[in-house]
Each structure stands twice: as C-alpha cells, then as structure tokens.
Symmetry: C2
Subunit: 211 residues, 2 copies
C-alpha cells in the first residue's frame, strides 16, 4: 500500500509533514514523496527543502494521494502532467486527499466538482469557482475525497483518516506517540476566532499568502 505525497516548488512544509507524521505511521504502508522530477523541492519560505524520492510516473497507482498547498500551488493550476497524474492516480486510489490550497489542484483536475470540500480559509471562494462546495469544517469527507483546511489541519486530517483505516486505538497510539495534545498560546486559529483587525490584515495580504 503506497501513500504518495506530492511535492512542487514553493509548497508549504507543514501541509505535507502533518499527514506524513500521522497517516504516514499506517502499518504496512509505504510513504513516498513524489514530484515531476526527483530531488529537493524548496518550500514557500525558500529556507527549507524536502526531497522527492520518486517521479510521478514511478508511482502511478498509490492507495492514498496527498496534495499539500502553498503559494506555489497557483503556478501548478495549468500543469498538465501533474493534473493528468492526479486524475490517473485518483482512478484507482482508495483515498484522494489534500491540505490547504492543495484542494485547488484537485479541483483543477476536475476531481471535486459538486463535492463538499475545504481549503485554506482565504481560498474558499476560489474553491467554489472551481466547482466544489466549500464547507466551514476543518476536515471534510465526501466519499473517498478528504480535504483539510489551512496548513496545520493536515495533522487532524491525518489522524482522522488513520483512525478510519487502522482503527481508533491505533490512531490514539500515534496521537500519544506524537504527543498531539495541542495547547496554542492564543485562540486565533480561524477567521471566526481571531480579532477582526488580524483577519482583515491577512485578507488584504491574501494575494501574497496564496500566490
């Protein structure tokens, strides 16, 4: 059983590493970081690179597809080889998933049309324009399609999907092993909770965050 995590230039590291560190602990599964070419891919900050070990062509039929988001997503929306691979992989996948604006790539590949889905809160309008039905939930299941909200939500998605596949007790074991007992020092993690002036500040800068 293969779990393929897709990389591309200027992705957001935690989008990929959240599901990797949780769902990637699935027993008897092989996690593979894939991209159009093998080698290092720089994240959105430019200060970190993660390695793709296999090309997309080398991993044609993973059981689970995970597409992270990040500013670089905007440059991939008309990348035919990537979108073709997503469609082909999805044809045989058990689960097709995304974190953050990774859902826009699934939508651009035509995989979320008419489906309930989510994305980074700043990208929900765009997700709707691509034919999906955005919801306000942090992790959204619609059949085998699982989409998560912004960046850090991939940890919650990974644990949720791990529980569905390997059972609640196994997922709890991974939660305890990773000591995922979150205690944020602030309560500003969603637009409904953050102070208005901070929400407004990010909306005004959304172009720089999303592209």
């Amino acid at each position: 059983m293969q779990i393929a995590i897709v990389l591309y230039d200027r992705f957001t590291a935690l989008d990929a590493v959240g599901p990797y560190e949780t769902l990637g602990r699935l027993p008897d599964a092989e996690t593979v970081f894939v991209a159009e070419r093998t080698g290092p891919f720089r994240t959105d900050t430019g200060t970190l690179a993660l390695t793709a070990d296999r090309t997309l062509a080398e991993v044609p039929d993973p059981a689970i597809v995970i597409v992270p988001g990040g500013p670089g997503q905007s440059t991939q929306m008309d990348n035919a080889p990537l979108l073709d691979w997503l469609r082909t992989a999805d044809a045989t996948s058990t689960w097709t998933t995304s974190v953050c604006t990774g859902s826009l790539l699934l939508a651009a590949a035509g995989l979320l049309t008419g489906r309930r889905a989510t994305s980074h809160w700043l990208a929900l309008d765009q997700l709707e324009r691509f034919g999906a039905q955005p919801t306000g939930e942090r992790v959204v299941f619609d059949g085998k399609y699982v989409t998560a909200a912004g960046v850090s939500s991939g940890i919650d998605m990974g644990l949720t999907l791990l529980g569905r596949i390997a059972g609640d007790d196994y997922a709890r074991t991974v939660q305890l092993a990773t000591e995922y007992d979150p205690q944020p020092p602030y309560d500003a993690g969603s637009p409904g909770k953050a102070p208005t002036h901070i929400v407004d500040r990010l909306r005004a800068r959304s172009r720089f965050i999303l592209t």
Copy 2:
C-alpha cells in the same frame, strides 16, 4: 538575526517543521537548517529527507538555536562536534530551544543542568538523569532556555516564542495564516489523557520509539 534548526540522521520531521512554520515566520530573521555536513538528512521513518543548507561551522552564532528530537538523538549524545557547537552557539544565543528528545542533546551538552525543562513524555526520566528538572508542562521556559514536549509541541513552542519576540498580534497573525485551530479527532495526546492500555503499549515499546 539567524534561527538555526539542527538536523541529524533519524530526526523526527515534525519536531523541526513545527517551529520552522511558526517561529520561522519571524520578521527580519533568516532560518537556516544546519548540520555537520550539508545535504539531505533522512528522518526516523526513512521515507523523507530534509536538506541542511549550511554546516554547523558556517553558522557559529545564531540568535535562536532549535534542536529537534527523534530516535537518531540517541546516537548523537556523545557526538563531540555537535555538543561543542551547541555550547558555543549557546554562549551568544538569545534563545536556546528544543523539541521532544532534542532536550536530551541540550542536557548532554551541559546546558540544562539544574534547569526546569521538558522532553517527550517517555524521555522525562532520562532528562532528569542528565541533570535537568523535568516538568509536566508542554512548553517550559527557564530564562533563555525553552524546551517543548513531544513532536507536535514544537508548534505551540514556536507560536509562544514568536509572541514573546514579535508581540501577541504578530503571533496571532501567524496562527491564523497557518489556520492553527486544532481539532484532534481523539483526546489521547498525553499520558494523562490516553487510555491506560495505549500508554502501557507505548511504554513497552519506548526503546523503539526513543532509539
């Protein structure tokens, strides 16, 4: 201002990426992944590699030092070049920090003697044997020394330290940008909350998790 995140073989990815994705958004700071040599370093699962862009010698005096943990930490406890670098960097750092069993490396370097500190819950006894005073808190401040509990706690540490340095509003902005509004599907993230049989299972396997 440099933020140096230390890599070594078989570190745990989220230990490094949690602080990177939060504290690494500090304005006017340069995050640098450092190690004994440059190039890719494999994580504990072997399925992912992160790149060290600079050698330890090239980054002698970062303002912030971040040491992740992971099973590979156990092989670094008598690595003189790394421990020497930690001591030298600490001599001029503003903050010296760790996530998970990274605190054992700080302790092995003699930097946590008599200090309040934490680590992965399975490693608290070992931390005490190295002269620190373990606490049950998720993020522990003792002067400029900041240690976080297991794996995912580096996100909370990163945001907390970001708030101390750049102000609460800036940290809240990063929290909202990364949509850090955690909603774990289970409440098993600490030994006090997880079912006893799961805590016991991990204790029995602690050697494999820690080394």
